[in-house]
């Protein structure tokens, strides 16, 4: 009885203790995030001029938003195509990284070396190194499957499969996969490491108990590995969605960066906010799906 009472007070106490835990982050959030984004919102409605005395702002209303949405014809199709890219990019990256993570978690000779190799993409993606690698002519032809001298050219095989009566959607999916295998590996570095860490929190005792009950490896994967991995898997899903949106090779991001570089901050901020709204909507939908799936579980 006494124990129960203590728990109750503990949970009630929890409420305000939580605020102490998040306090440093909240201070930082106000200073390093909220204040700058307020400035950015103001920026998207104002024309900023650099004067000798500093900056001067003059209100121009929704002019930049009109520019971005209706006058510039590239932006809307670019945004739509980056949503379309998600539909095949995300499942491919997730399945691939889960597959690799499960393999890397198995016990075999040389797995430490392999883990080091699969760590390399994390170092290079998004940074200067990737820029240098992709900027280099020889290395580049290797990476773009569609490039002239690519070693992963498979068009004739695609025709063969199409002629043998397999629906086009499936073959395009397969060949997107094969053509983009380089990009795929380099995009899933973080997901692989995340899932690997998730796999290692699963107790081996569970697998032992399951094998004593006569479960096969396949059953163990679906009944133990996947459900336990669910939080990390949903994390990887969210990360993949966001990563494919804010990747610097994305055409919308390119427009944002280039208009900021040409000191057109109004356009850049407006496009950023439009794009941000789209990303927020998509990520919101992803969260809804995740929550629903976790309730059904």
């Amino acid at each position: 009885m006494a124990k129960k009472k203590k728990f109750k007070s503990y949970y009630r106490r929890k409420e305000y203790i939580g605020i102490w835990f998040v306090l440093p982050w909240v201070i930082g959030l106000a200073y390093f995030f909220i204040y700058p984004i307020v400035f950015s919102i103001v920026n998207s409605f104002c024309q900023m001029d650099v004067t000798p005395a500093g900056y001067s702002f003059s209100f121009v209303g929704a002019k930049y938003y009109k520019n971005v949405l209706f006058i510039d014809q590239r932006n809307l199709p670019n945004i739509l195509s980056s949503i379309g890219n998600l539909l095949y990019n995300v499942p491919m990256v997730l399945i691939f990284s889960l597959f690799v993570a499960v393999i890397l978690n198995q016990k075999f000779k040389g797995r430490i070396l392999l883990r080091a190799i699969f760590f390399l993409p994390i170092i290079t993606t998004g940074g200067v190194v990737m820029k240098i690698i992709t900027g280099d002519g020889v290395a580049q032809s290797m990476m773009n499957g569609t490039g002239g001298t690519a070693i992963f050219q498979v068009t004739s095989m695609e025709e063969m499969l199409l002629n043998s009566g397999i629906p086009q959607e499936i073959t395009t999916f397969i060949f997107q996969f094969i053509n983009n295998i380089f990009g795929l590996i380099w995009k899933s570095g973080i997901q692989i490491l995340l899932l690997l860490a998730g796999l290692q929190t699963i107790s081996p005792a569970m697998y032992e108990a399951a094998s004593i009950d006569g479960a096969t490896g396949w059953e163990k994967f679906w009944k133990i590995t996947l459900p336990t991995l669910y939080p990390v898997l949903s994390l990887a899903l969210v990360y993949t969605v966001i990563d494919s949106f804010v990747d610097t090779t994305n055409p919308v991001m390119n427009t944002i960066i280039s208009s900021a570089q040409s000191l057109n901050f109004g356009n850049s901020s407006a496009l950023c906010w439009v794009y941000f709204t789209v990303i927020a909507l998509v990520v919101g939908i992803v969260f809804l799906i995740i929550n629903k799936a976790s309730k059904n579980r």
Binding site: Y10, K14, E15, Y16, I17, G18, W20, F21, V22, P24, W25, V26, I27, G28, L29, Y31, F32, F33, I37, F39, S40, N43, I103, L114, A116, I117, F119, I122, I123, G127, V128, V129, I132, I133, V138, A139, I181, I185, I190, L193, L194, A197, Q200, T201, S203, P204, M206, P231, S234, V238, Y239, I242, V246, M253, I256, A260, C272, F276, A280, F287
Partner: protein
Amino acid sequence: MVRLKKRKILFKKADKRDLSRVSRRSKAVLWAVCRAILMCGLSFVILYPILYMLSMSFRPINQMADPSIIWIPKSLTLENMQRAIKYMSFKETVTNTAIITLVGTVLQIFSASLAGYGMSRFKFKGRGVLFALLIATIIMPPQNIIIPLYRQFQNFDFFWIGRLLAPFRGGEAFTVSLIDNPISMILPALFANGIRSGLVIYIFMQFFKGMPEELEEAACVDGCGAFATYFKIIMPNMMPAIVTVFVFSMVWYWTDFFYSAMLNPQTSLSVALNGIGTQIAYDTKSTNPLEVQAVTQAGCLIFIAPILTVYLFLQRLFVQSVERSGITG
């Protein structure tokens, strides 16, 4: 007769069991072979740029355009390496970047894990709003906030305190410029707003969610306070998550170009690597692209080497933690 029949059946059963054992064994061998082939192929794709870097950076410049050389040069040279080290002013930049990476990562892990724990375990008022803000920090393209952030650091006013002091200083706010100062990279990490901090907090949240609450309840029964529980019980049991996030965070700080180029361009390794081509053109007045390519590839190799070494050491810490946590199943 009956006995014979029974015997036959018994034999059949034994046969079957033997067969299944053999097939299971051959299956395992088959899988090992498939796995080896697959992993070799994937490793090749990943290692290709690294091999290319190795091949380029130890190759003398007069052999760069030699069509008879594909991978292995006829003679080796350290010249490209030495030039890369010189042009990147390696000693200075590497110490600075290492300090920023180490301090930034440790501070970020500390504050972000606190925030992640607070967000995942406590249900206080305003938690929903904070979660929405957290997701907003993850999905906000950094290009959107970098210019105002630059202005914040150019006229850093100590969290608005400097501005409050303005009336005492004749209407002038007390500000300090933190541009080209490592503090501008480290300070946001202390407040869990460093490079990709939102993601770090979210990763911690997900890992905390997967952790059983029994441990904390037990600690509470034993009269352990919330912070003591956190440092004595939660942290030690979160080692796989902490090591993972440490590795990510370290890499993000080490390879960061975007924030470094804006806030700390003078002594940042990635900015120096990016500028090798310009440095060569400035120094030797030559614009031979092959020369630039060779030195840049050598620079890439030097850039990757330290972080890869650190990872190889950290990898040993990716250990099974559940066995130690005392809660199984």
